[in-house]
Structure formats: C-alpha cells, structure tokens
C-alpha cells in the first residue's frame, strides 16, 4: 500500500501542479497537440472521403486504409520523421496526422456509401444537385459513422501524442519518459493514469457530442455500424501504440 500512498502524494504535491513541467501545463500541451493533429487530419481526410464516398470512387483504398493504418508502427513513424525533419514539432505533428487520417477516411467513406440507394435516387429525383445531395442527404445520414471516425481518430491521437515526449517535447508523455529514466515510479504511474484519463475523457466527451449531433432516428439504426467503425479505427489506436 505504500506505493499507492506515494502515488497519491505525487498527485497531491503542489509542486507538481505548478511551473512549466507541472500537470496543468503538460496536460494543456497534450491537448494542444491532440486537437491540432485531429483538426488537421479532419481537414485533409473529410473532403477526400466525402468526395470518394459521394462519387463511389476509390472504394478499395478507402475501405482498407483503416486496416493499413492499424498496421503502421507509430514509434517507427515518429522516429523516421525526426530523422528526416529534425528536432521540431513538425515531425511529431506529421506522424500524428498521418495516423489520424485513416479512421476518418474509412468511416466517412463507408458512412456515405451506406446511404440507401433509394434515398439518394429520391433526392436526385427531387431535383437536388450533387452538392445538395451530399450536404443535405448523405452527410446527415452518414453522421453517426463520420462522428465515430472522428472520435476514434481523436482518441488515437491523444494516445499517440504521448510519443511527442519521446522526442523531448511536452505533453503528458513527459511524465512517462522522465519517470522511466529516473525510475521514479510515482511520476511514471501518475503520468500513465493522466494519459489514460485524458483518453477516456476524450472518448466520452466526443460520444456525447455524437449523441447531440446525430438525429435520434439514425442513431439507433446505426448503432452497430458505429461500433464497427470504432473497432476498425480503434485498432489503429492500439496499433499506433497509443
């Protein structure tokens, strides 16, 4: 039990809550990396996936890219990026964005493709332009899966952002790597718990956002699909070593 009490001591030590290496700053850094990477990934992935889904092109790639993303070792990616681009936040960002894109692409693509042919035809029959079909029919119907993809991606990024600290940057990973090197198990465990907590909070927060954003009727029908999406992308989370 002394380890637990020491761990508690770490969490309650005021020194750990102030300064540039305190918990709040590290958490904020971590959130910054994560939000930036997820947004950038979404900005890149969504248009592409929406286009592919709407036109039905590139299906093979779109569907399998989540699988491929799952197989990519995040540690290797980040180290490679460092070797190529040097010691700044860019390689970290590139690695995070690269790993965040696949779940968004696959889930969005599948979501759009899943829109019933009849619904699409009906919309077309009503005289809607392609763009209108996309924005007024396909996207709303695909919302559960799109959101699931974004959510998966975000959780993945939060996890992988831990590796920024491997390259000496900030974020909650700092507690892990410093704690490891110093054999300071309280710091190590404290950091791990914080990262786990942040991951879970991200997951739950975005799940709530999803319930708000997705129309109720769709939500039920798409529940299984959403879980599928979580799994297909999640493997990416796990495989990205986050």
């Amino acid at each position: 039990m002394t380890f637990l009490s020491e761990l508690l001591a770490w969490f309650t030590d005021p020194l750990n809550w102030q300064g540039s290496s305190g918990i709040p700053i590290r958490t904020w850094e971590h959130v910054q990396y994560s939000v930036a990477a997820t947004l950038i990934a979404a900005l890149i992935a969504l248009p592409i996936a929406l286009y592919l889904g709407h036109t039905g092109r590139g299906g093979l790639l779109a569907i399998n890219i989540a699988n491929i993303g799952r197989a990519i070792p995040s540690l290797g990616l980040i180290i490679m990026a460092f070797i190529l681009l040097g010691l700044n936040i860019t390689p970290v960002m590139i690695a995070l964005v690269a790993l965040a894109i696949p779940p968004i692409v696959t889930n969005t693509y599948i979501g759009i493709r899943n829109v019933n042919r009849e619904v699409r035809d009906a919309a077309g029959g009503m005289g809607m332009t392609g763009w209108q079909v996309l924005t007024q029919v396909e996207i709303p119907v695909a919302m559960p899966l799109i959101m699931a993809g974004l959510r998966t991606s975000a959780v993945q990024v939060v996890a992988t952002a831990t590796l920024a600290a491997y390259l000496s940057f900030g974020g909650l990973g700092r507690f892990l790597f410093d704690g490891l090197a110093l054999q300071d198990y309280e710091q190590l465990t404290g950091g791990a718990l914080l990262i786990a907590a942040l991951s879970l909070i991200t997951e739950f927060l975005l799940a709530r956002v999803q319930t708000v954003v997705v129309p109720k009727g769709l939500a039920k029908r798409n529940a299984t699909a959403a879980v599928d999406a979580k799994m297909s992308g999640k493997a990416g989370v796990a495989s990205s070593g986050a």
Partner: protein, 213 residues
C-alpha cells in the same frame, strides 16, 4: 538505405522477428483463452454483455504506452508486462466478434440442432461455431494486426521485436534499421492478415458466397 547493413544484420533481424512473432502469438492465444469463455458467458447471460464490453472497451481505450507503464511498478520492464498488456488489448475485439458471431447464428439453425438432439456443447462446437467462424476470424484479424503494431511499442521498455530496430536507428541517426523495422512489421501484419483470410476460406468453404459481416 544501406543494403550492406541489412546483409550484415540478417541474424539480428531474424531473431527480432521471432521475438515479435512470439509476442504476437502468445498474446493472441492468451487473449482468446480469456475472451472465448467471456464471450460464451455473454451469449448465455446477455446481461453480462454490456459490462464485459464496457470493461474491455475501457481497457482498450487506455493508450498502450500508458498501460505498459502502469504495470511497470508491479511487474517491471519484463516480458510478462508486455504480454499482459498485449493480451488485454486483444480482448475487446475478440469478445465482441465472438459474441456477434455466435449471435448471428440463425434461430432456425439452433432450433433444428436442438430438435436433432444435439446437446449444448455439441451444438456449440458442431453447429454454432462453424457458422460464427467468419466473424470470429474477422475479429482475430483485427487483433493480430493491432498486436503486431503494439509489439513495436514495447521497444520502449527493452523489447520491441522489430521495433528494436527503430531504437537502433534512432541512436545512430541512421535511417536503414528504421526503414527495415518499419517495412518488416507492416509486411508481417499484412501477411498475417492474408493468412487468416486464407484460413477462413479453408475452414468455411460454404461462406465464400455470402462473405462476413
């Protein structure tokens, strides 16, 4: 890309690959050993499904680096730590897919089997599992590919399989080992995935038309 280096290090690469494969295989076997009974329980007593899925889901959401580190104070930087964490990560997908697979067995088929006098155990193994196989294997595929990726993270605590090559390359600021490690782990994942698809085809020749869910 220094091919000379590759030639000189074939032994090391091979033994790292074996370490990688060992970890993956063990994690899957242990994972399935835990997940299968859990899935059976969840099918038998549906109320258990949500909590089981919930727990394995939460564990899954925990970033792998964090999970490895969380175990460090208790089991140290050992192979055991790696294996326990790797096994935990397989649970969600294995449980989920096994349950979904079993649930997907049409009621008529189950009833027919019962009518034919099949007892529970026989029914499970002779009838339900073969039908559920495609979905179960789909889950195994995800678990395998995920695990292969995760093994590389264990490089941070002294293992890593092919991931150890990343650390070597990092230390010497030398790209070749990193590229080799990267390419081989991706290839390994792809090969394992394809092998499982092949196994599925072999084991369920009747399902070829329908395909899995």
């Amino acid at each position: 890309m220094d091919w000379g280096w590759v030639q000189d290090h074939l032994d090391e690469i091979q033994s790292l690959f074996f370490q990688h494969a060992q970890f993956t295989l063990l994690a899957l076997v242990y994972g399935f050993a835990i997940a299968f009974p859990l899935a059976l329980a969840a099918t038998r007593w549906p109320r258990l499904y949500t909590p089981i899925l919930g727990l394995t889901g939460i564990l899954f959401t925990i970033p792998s680096i964090a999970l490895f580190m969380l175990m460090m104070p208790f089991t140290g930087p050992t192979a055991t730590t790696c294996l326990i964490a790797l096994t935990i990560y397989t649970l969600l997908v294995l449980v989920r897919n096994t349950v979904e697979g079993l649930k997907g067995v049409p009621r008529e088929v189950r009833e027919a089997a019962e009518a034919m006098g099949y007892r529970r155990f026989k029914q499970l193994f002779r009838v339900e599992l073969p039908i559920a196989l495609p979905v179960i294997i789909a889950g195994i595929r995800i678990a395998v590919v995920t695990t292969i990726g995760l093994v590389t993270i264990t490089a941070l605590i002294g293992f890593g399989g092919l991931g150890a090559l990343f650390i070597d390359g990092f230390r010497q600021a030398f790209g070749t080992p990193i590229i080799v490690g990267f390419a081989l782990s991706v290839l390994f994942a792809v090969a394992a995935d394809l092998a499982l698809v092949g196994a599925q085809r072999l084991l369920t020749p009747w399902a070829r038309g329908g395909g899995s869910r």
